[in-house]
């Protein structure tokens, strides 16, 4: 009985596990290895296997004597040699952080409202939240480009209003503001959905009890609803923060001359500069930074729980 149980577990977890090993774990290891190699002249990496000049047969070119010609720490050295890379990391974290916070502030009331609506309307409202996914991501970004452009009605109306109060016209397109507003727009549903899934399950009796015990509206939210919704907040924050951090299309399309994020730099290494090893270094650094942040968040979360106990 126990044995067949174990087999069942493997049968169920096996396919996704295998999928992740083949398409996530192995490529990640290849990337980590690539970070220590030299780039090839036409993209890719300097080959480790090639034809032997004497025999013409393919063989491993690396030997105990010449491994320094094939493996190097220089790519990591480059990352730390110029502060611009770290600065770009910090800027990207800043962008992603603001995006996450803005999404949370916008999504929380909305998710709460949907969760407290009559049951028959909830599915429809959730459908409306995910409706933007029916059209292509790039088309939605292009729509924003029209809205934010100086000839767009939104910008013209805004500048009219600003003109009345005596402020000069503002340029919305090609700015930090444009990048953040589009990042928030693109990621908002990813914050609403986990929050809704969490808030919907809250037991209303808890709030009634709090009210009976004399808690004010704010206290009921801060002492009951908010702590209970934290798993949803964390899930939503992760779903928004991580993709926003690696985004390159949005800064490319609506960002100004200094709007690039770390994703643009990684893309540049692979596609324009044909420097895969340095691109790998940047990707590894990004992964490590995210892991570090997740670890810190987990520690803070655990600390909070201990306090509560």
């Amino acid at each position: 009985m126990a044995k067949s149980n174990r087999i069942n577990k493997w049968l169920i977890s096996g396919p996704p596990l295998l999928y992740l090993i083949i398409f996530f774990a192995i490529p990640s290891l290849i990337m980590a290895f690539a970070a220590f190699r030299y780039p090839g002249d036409y993209g890719g990496l300097l080959p480790l296997i090639g034809p032997n000049p004497d025999t013409g047969a393919n063989e491993l070119l690396v030997t105990a004597e010449n491994w320094r010609d094939y493996l190097t720490f220089d790519n990591f050295g480059l990352f730390f040699s110029d502060p611009i890379y770290i600065e770009l990391f910090l800027k990207s974290f800043w962008y992603a952080g603001i995006t996450t916070l803005a999404c949370l502030l916008l999504a929380y009331p909305l998710a709460w409202l949907i969760a407290r609506s009559p049951k028959k309307y909830r599915d429809l409202m959730i459908l409306l939240v995910i409706l933007p996914f029916w059209s292509n991501f790039l088309i939605r970004v292009y729509a924003w480009m029209i809205i934010l452009g100086p000839q767009g009605y939104f910008t013209m109306a805004l500048n009219q209003v600003l003109g009345v109060v005596g402020l000069g016209p503002v340029q919305l397109m090609f700015s930090h503001f444009a990048v953040i507003i589009v990042l928030v727009y693109v990621h908002l549903p990813f914050m609403v959905l986990p929050l809704y899934a969490n808030l919907e399950k809250h037991d209303m009796a808890l709030l009634d009890a709090a009210q009976d015990l004399g808690a004010s509206g704010w206290q009921r939210f801060w002492k009951v609803t908010w702590p209970l919704s934290l798993p949803g907040v964390w899930a939503g924050a992760a779903l928004v923060f991580i993709p926003a951090l690696g985004m390159f299309a949005v800064p490319d399309l609506v960002g100004g001359t200094d709007g690039i994020m770390i994703g643009n730099l990684i893309k540049q290494q692979f596609l324009d500069s044909r420097d895969w090893p340095f691109g790998s270094v940047l990707s590894i650094m990004l992964t490590l930074a995210v892991l570090l942040l997740a670890g810190l968040a987990a520690m803070v979360g655990r600390g909070g729980k201990r306090d509560a106990l």
């Binding site: 780039p39 036409y42 490319d252 500069s273």
Partner: protein
């Protein structure tokens, strides 16, 4: 009888399946009419796949993508394809129309003797601008100063975009400083980088994707870009009945010329159809169709009679002999030079 019909169907099916030319080309770089005409003449079908950037095409083919017959790379991508053994030499005996080509576009540095490639079409990289605004402001668009000189830029701050392409932006800055567009000398590149950094605060964005639209809408007044895109922008502005047009002309310090070439891949399933296609495109009339449609430059001498007069009048696409001398093709950069440029570009992109 039924069996016979079935056999016939199968035979027809296989014949169809075999006669397919796979063309790997830039987006919007052959007219549907030309494709239809070629299909009629070769009794075959053309299947197209597209790329939006040279590095994208190179990356895909270097990674081992197969199944394409003809590819249309820009000059600087020809050597990488040849050196990696991805293309095959052309059999000139199958290309009698090669005689139509203008000799000044033959024998380029990237393929001496045109062993592997023949010219297809070209664009020049230049400045396109809102003719009304630039005239009002009294700015001279015939110099690269329009995108690099802070004194000029002060009048058009936030209304300028430059290409999001390290090679093209550095080439323009190098030429503005009087250097070769292909310079790899560190001190000259440094100078060009300084020019770029001084001008950058006045630019709205690095934009290679949507400057046609931005120009047409009047959001941007000056854009560094490709001649055929400016042709498109002007056509769009006219169609939308804008009160302005998009004008463009070559810069006096010189411009880059991107010559696109037809090449046959080594892995081509149908080299015979590839040769037929190349010869077809070297015909003056067929070649002129693209020029008339998108305003691309035409290296084909026999096509000139078929090009519409209004397109022929565009000096950026049909340069005078004098201007022709100032056009420079970008070389293929070898690994290290490309990476060094990439690093300077990153400094430009991240500078405040």
């Amino acid at each position: 009888m039924k069996k016979f019909l079935l056999a016939l169907l199968l035979a027809a099916g296989t014949a169809n399946a075999e006669d397919v030319l796979h063309l790997y080309n830039w987006n919007n770089y052959i007219t549907p009419e030309t494709v239809k005409n070629f299909e009629a003449s070769c009794k075959c079908r053309v299947v197209q796949d597209y790329y939006g950037a040279m590095e994208e095409m190179l990356a895909k083919l270097s990674a081992g993508a197969k199944g394409y017959d003809v590819v249309v790379p820009t000059g600087f991508a020809v050597q990488p394809l040849v050196k990696q053994g991805l293309v095959q030499p052309l059999d000139k005996s199958k290309l009698p129309n090669i005689k139509n080509l203008n000799p000044s576009f033959m024998n380029s540095a990237f393929d001496k003797g045109n062993q592997y490639s023949v010219p297809y079409a070209f664009t020049t990289t230049l400045v396109g601008y809102n003719d009304k605004k630039i005239k009002e402001l009294g700015i001279d668009p015939s110099s690269w100063a329009i995108i690099f000189d802070p004194a000029v830029l002060a009048k058009i701050k936030g209304k300028v975009t430059v290409l999001d392409d390290s090679r093209e932006v550095f080439a323009a800055a190098l030429m503005y400083n009087g250097f070769s567009a292909n310079s790899t000398k560190p001190e000259e590149l440094k100078k060009a980088q300084e020019t770029i950094l001084k001008a950058k605060p006045f630019w709205a964005a690095f934009n290679g994707q949507s400057y046609i639209k931005e120009l047409t809408l009047g959001n941007i007044w000056v854009a560094h870009g490709y001649s055929n895109d400016m042709f498109q922008a002007n056509t769009d502005a006219k169609a939308a009945k804008r009160p302005f047009g998009i004008a463009y002309s070559l810069q006096k310090e010189g411009n880059t010329l991107s010559l696109d070439n037809m090449m046959v891949l080594k892995s081509a399933p149908r080299p015979d159809l590839a040769a037929k296609f190349i010869n077809f495109m070297l015909d003056g009339k067929n070649s002129a169709q693209l020029t008339n449609a998108i305003g691309s430059g035409n290296p084909n001498a026999a096509s000139q009679a078929f090009v519409k007069p209004e397109v022929k009048a565009i000096s950026a696409v049909f340069p005078s002999a004098d201007n022709m001398k100032k056009l420079q093709q970008l070389n293929a950069l070898e690994g290290k030079a490309l990476r060094d440029l990439g690093r300077m570009w990153t400094q430009v992109k991240t500078a405040k």
